[in-house]
C-alpha cells in the first residue's frame, strides 16, 4: 500500500529552508520510531504530511500526542480515490501546548479500502475528533471502529443514498 506512487503528494515549494527545526525533528524521530510504517509525503514551511499504514494509525497518533504535544485536531477529512479504489483519511494535527508548534500543522494521512471502508477511531486520543469522524462516516461511508456513534449527523435521518462525498455520487445536472 505504502509503495504506491502518490501523485497528489508532490512538493510544491522546495526552495525555502525550513525555518523551524522542530518540525523536521518530529518527522525524523517519528520515522525512526516506526520505520517502514511511516512515509514522509512532503514537507513545507509549517506544514508536512506523513502517510501511515492504517493498522498503525492509533499508535502513531498516540506517539505524536505524547511526545510532541500535538494535542488537537484542526480538521479531519476524507477523500475518495475511485481510481485506486481507496479512501484517504487526513487528520490535521495541531498543538496548543507546545508554543513552538503553534503555526505547525501535521497532516496525518491513512488509506482504507473503498469497498470495506473501516478505520480505527482516534477518539480516545483526540476527543476533538468526535464530530469530524461522525461527519466522515456519513459523508464517505467510513466506519470508525471504537467510535461510539457512527450515525447520521449532518444529513437527514432517512438518508438512503450513497454517501454524498464519494465520487460516484452524482449531483443532478453534473
Amino acid at each position: 500500500m505504502e509503495n504506491k506512487d502518490n501523485s497528489f503528494g508532490q512538493l510544491i515549494d522546495t526552495s525555502k529552508d525550513l525555518d523551524n527545526k522542530i518540525t523536521s525533528n518530529i518527522i525524523k524521530s517519528a520515522i525512526q520510531n516506526f520505520n517502514q510504517k511511516i512515509q514522509l509525503v512532503y514537507e513545507k514551511p509549517n506544514r508536512s504530511k506523513i502517510f501511515v499504514n492504517n493498522e498503525s494509525l492509533v499508535e502513531v497518533a498516540l506517539f505524536l500526542r505524547n511526545t510532541y504535544g500535538l494535542d488537537h485536531v484542526e480538521s479531519m477529512s476524507g477523500t475518495d480515490f475511485p481510481a485506486e479504489n481507496e479512501i484517504e483519511i487526513n487528520y490535521h494535527l495541531g498543538s496548543y501546548i507546545n508554543q513552538d508548534l503553534h503555526p505547525y500543522i501535521l497532516n496525518l494521512a491513512t488509506r482504507v479500502d473503498r469497498e470495506n471502508a473501516k478505520s480505527n477511531s482516534l477518539i480516545n486520543i483526540f476527543p476533538s475528533v468526535e464530530y469530524f469522524e461522525r461527519e466522515t462516516y456519513e459523508m464517505l461511508g467510513v466506519y470508525f471502529v471504537g467510535h461510539p456513534r457512527n450515525e447520521p449527523f449532518l444529513l437527514p435521518e432517512d438518508w438512503a443514498d450513497l454517501p454524498p462525498l464519494r465520487k460516484d455520487f452524482k449531483l443532478k445536472g453534473r
Binding site: F8, Q10, H72, E74, S75, S77, T79, S128, L154, L155
Partner: protein, 386 residues
C-alpha cells in the same frame, strides 16, 4: 466536578442508552429547536432532571447544503459566491483563507496594497460579525436594548463595507490574487470617523451590558471549561482564548500583512461563560486598533489585484491554509489534481469545532444557563453545517 474523560464516557453511555429507548421516567426530554426562540438553525436534545441538564446532544445539519460536494464541480473563481454563504456577515474572512489556499496552489502573490485592503475588509467584517453575535447574545439573555444597539451600529460599518465592495453583506470581495476593486475615494477619512464613533459606543455597551450586575451573576462561574479541557476538546477562537490559551492565528501564523501590525492577543483566564462573552468584545476593541494601523501603513497607490484568467489551472498538490475568523480558526484543505476545479475541498470551521464543547458544558448546568452557554460558544449554525 468530574474530569473530562468521565464526562465523555458518561455522555456516550447515555447516548447509547437513549438510542436503545431505555428512558428514565424521572427525566424530561426537551427538544430545543429548530423552531425555538433560543436556538438558531439547529436543535439540542436535552434531558433535564428538575432544573439540571443531565444529557445534551446537538443535532445539527438543518442547513447542510453540501458545499464541499458542489465546489468539486465549479472552478476556483466560481466557487467564491457559494463558499461565502455559510457566514454571510463574515464573508470576507471565510473567503480570505480560500484565497490564500488558491494563491498557494496557483503560485501567485497579491500586491502589497491588495493585501492591506483585504485585511481592512476582513477586520471590518469581523466587527460586523461580532456586533451581530453580541446582539443575539443580548436577546438570548432577555436584554432587548442590547439587541437593538449593536444591530444599529452594525449598519454604519455595513455602510462602509457597502461603499467599499458594493454589497451589504455578501461581498465576494477577496479573490485569489488580491481584492476585486480598489477602495473608494475618501474612504480612509470615513473609516476613521466611523471607527472613532464605534469605539465610543463600545464603551457604552460595556456600561449597559457587561457591567450589569445581573449579567455578571448569570455568567460568572457558569459553564467552566478549564485550560486542559479546552485543549483536549480542540476548541478555537474566542472560546479557546477565554480558557486562557493565547492562541490567535493572526499572531502565531501571520498571513498577508498581519506580521507588520502591532496588536495584542486578547485572552482571559477565568474560563467561564463571562470570559467567553467578553473576549469577542475585547477582540472588537483590538480590531479597531488594527484597522487604524492598517489604514496608516497602507501604501497610497499601487494595484490591488494580480489578475488571473478565469479558468486558471492549479498545480497538482494539496494545501491547508487558515485564518482567524470571528469564530476562530477557519481552514481550507484543498486537494488539486491539476485541473481547473478542486478535486476535494474541505472547510474546517470554528463553529464545527466549538459545538463539540456544548454537551460538555451543558451537562451539569441548569436549564436557565442553556442560552447563555450556547451562544457564548461563538457558534454560527450555518457555518458548522456548511
Amino acid at each position: 466536578m468530574s474530569t473530562l474523560d468521565d464526562k465523555i464516557n458518561e455522555i456516550n453511555r447515555l447516548a447509547i442508552q437513549i438510542t436503545k429507548d431505555n428512558d428514565d421516567d424521572r427525566l424530561m426530554n426537551l427538544s430545543i429547536g429548530p423552531q425555538h426562540p433560543g436556538s438558531g438553525h439547529f436543535r439540542i436534545v436535552i434531558k433535564v432532571d428538575g432544573d439540571y441538564i443531565v444529557y445534551a446532544d446537538p443535532d445539527i445539519g438543518y442547513v447542510h447544503r453540501g458545499e464541499e460536494k458542489m465546489s468539486e464541480h465549479r472552478n476556483f473563481i466560481q466557487n467564491i459566491p457559494h463558499l461565502e454563504r455559510p457566514v454571510i456577515h463574515d464573508s470576507t474572512n471565510i473567503i480570505y483563507s480560500y484565497s490564500l489556499a488558491i494563491e498557494e496552489l496557483i503560485g501567485i502573490n497579491p500586491p502589497r496594497r491588495g493585501q492591506f485592503v483585504r485585511a481592512i475588509a476582513a477586520e471590518l467584517d469581523r466587527l460586523v460579525y461580532t456586533t451581530y453575535w453580541l446582539a443575539i447574545y443580548g436577546i438570548f439573555l432577555g436584554h432587548s436594548t442590547m439587541f437593538m444597539w449593536p444591530t444599529g451600529d452594525r449598519e454604519l460599518i455595513i455602510d462602509l463595507l457597502e461603499r467599499m465592495t458594493g454589497h451589504r453583506v455578501t461581498h465576494a470581495f477577496s479573490v485569489p490574487g488580491g481584492v476585486r476593486n480598489d477602495i473608494p475615494y475618501n474612504f480612509k477619512e470615513k473609516c476613521l470617523t466611523q471607527i472613532n464613533y464605534f469605539e465610543k459606543r463600545l464603551k457604552e455597551y460595556e456600561d449597559i451590558f457587561y457591567n450589569n450586575p445581573l449579567l455578571r451573576q448569570r455568567t460568572e462561574g457558569v459553564g467552566i471549561m478549564n485550560k486542559e479541557d479546552a485543549i483536549k476538546l480542540g476548541v478555537t477562537g474566542s472560546v479557546l482564548r477565554a480558557s486562557g490559551v493565547p492562541y490567535d492565528i493572526r499572531k502565531v501564523e501571520p498571513y498577508d500583512v498581519y506580521d507588520e501590525i502591532d496588536f495584542k492577543v486578547q485572552y482571559m483566564k477565568s474560563c467561564d461563560t463571562f470570559a467567553r462573552a467578553y473576549v469577542p468584545y475585547l477582540d472588537m476593541k483590538e480590531s479597531c486598533h488594527i484597522i487604524r494601523q492598517l489604514l496608516d501603513k497602507m501604501p497610497d497607490e499601487g494595484s490591488v489585484r494580480e489578475k488571473i484568467v478565469g479558468n486558471v489551472k492549479a498545480q497538482p498538490g494539496e494545501t491547508y491554509r487558515r485564518v482567524e475568523s470571528g469564530r476562530g480558526a477557519l481552514g481550507y484543505y484543498i486537494i488539486s489534481d491539476g485541473s481547473t476545479k478542486p478535486y476535494r475541498l474541505k472547510i474546517s470551521t470554528g463553529s464545527f469545532r466549538n459545538i463539540l464543547a456544548l454537551p460538555f458544558l451543558l451537562v451539569g448546568s441548569k436549564l436557565g444557563d442553556m442560552p447563555a452557554i450556547y451562544w457564548a460558544l461563538n457558534y454560527w449554525p450555518i457555518e458548522a453545517d456548511r
